[in-house]
Symmetry: C2
Subunit: 124 residues, 2 copies
């Protein structure tokens, strides 16, 4: 069973975290047939932590977890914190495959998303 774990920065502002939870709900609705489990974790300010999120995926039966850093740039979180937390949980659960996807700022579709945000096409 495959899980997607979205890792967001986390914020002191409840509204910012609520936006992430809404996004995860949208991802979950679109994930049918691809990821049986879609969960969220945060790096700072709120919970669950990345370690907790990974444990939750394993506890719910994931054989494979894809960690998607919901980050726009290659800062220290992407370069160091996420790999470290993943390596620790990977060691604890060698039977589970944990993979870290490139952060979303590197997504091939980002340029089109920016353009659509600037200039929304009328819905037809």
């Amino acid at each position: 069973m495959k899980a997607l774990l979205l890792v967001a920065h986390g914020s002191r502002r409840a509204e910012a975290n609520a936006e992430v939870h809404r996004l995860v709900g949208a991802v979950r609705r679109r994930a049918t047939g691809r990821f049986a489990l879609v969960k969220v974790a945060f790096l700072e300010f709120t919970e669950p932590t990345l370690a907790e999120g990974l444990e939750a995926c394993v506890a719910q039966g994931a054989a494979e977890v894809v960690v998607v850093p919901y980050l726009l740039s290659a800062g220290s979180h992407a370069a160091r914190d996420i790999p470290r937390a993943v390596a620790a949980r990977q060691k604890a659960h060698p039977e589970v495959t944990i993979r870290i996807a490139p952060h979303v700022g590197l997504a091939a579709g980002m340029a089109d998303l920016v353009l659509a945000q600037a200039d929304p096409q009328p819905e037809s």
Copy 2:
């Protein structure tokens, strides 16, 4: 003439800022017929600033500038800093229409982008 000004957070890490410049290049290549000018500005750590970016758009002849916050969440930059900087430049250039788009974290396409990042489809 319409301009798109992508406003990124900015980083102490040169590689993170370089990623943003590459993204702006990709947006520019796709903007043909929609935005004659595509530029970048940063909120912290590097330049040009948002005020400088807006001035550059005006100096190059933009009659309309769409500011796209390249931010994932509704933090103080999106809520306060960007609107303040835009309001100041709008006052200085009443003949130019400056509009702030919702930050990219709110983009309708974000859930699909996250899924694609987690589970890339083979290119066909």
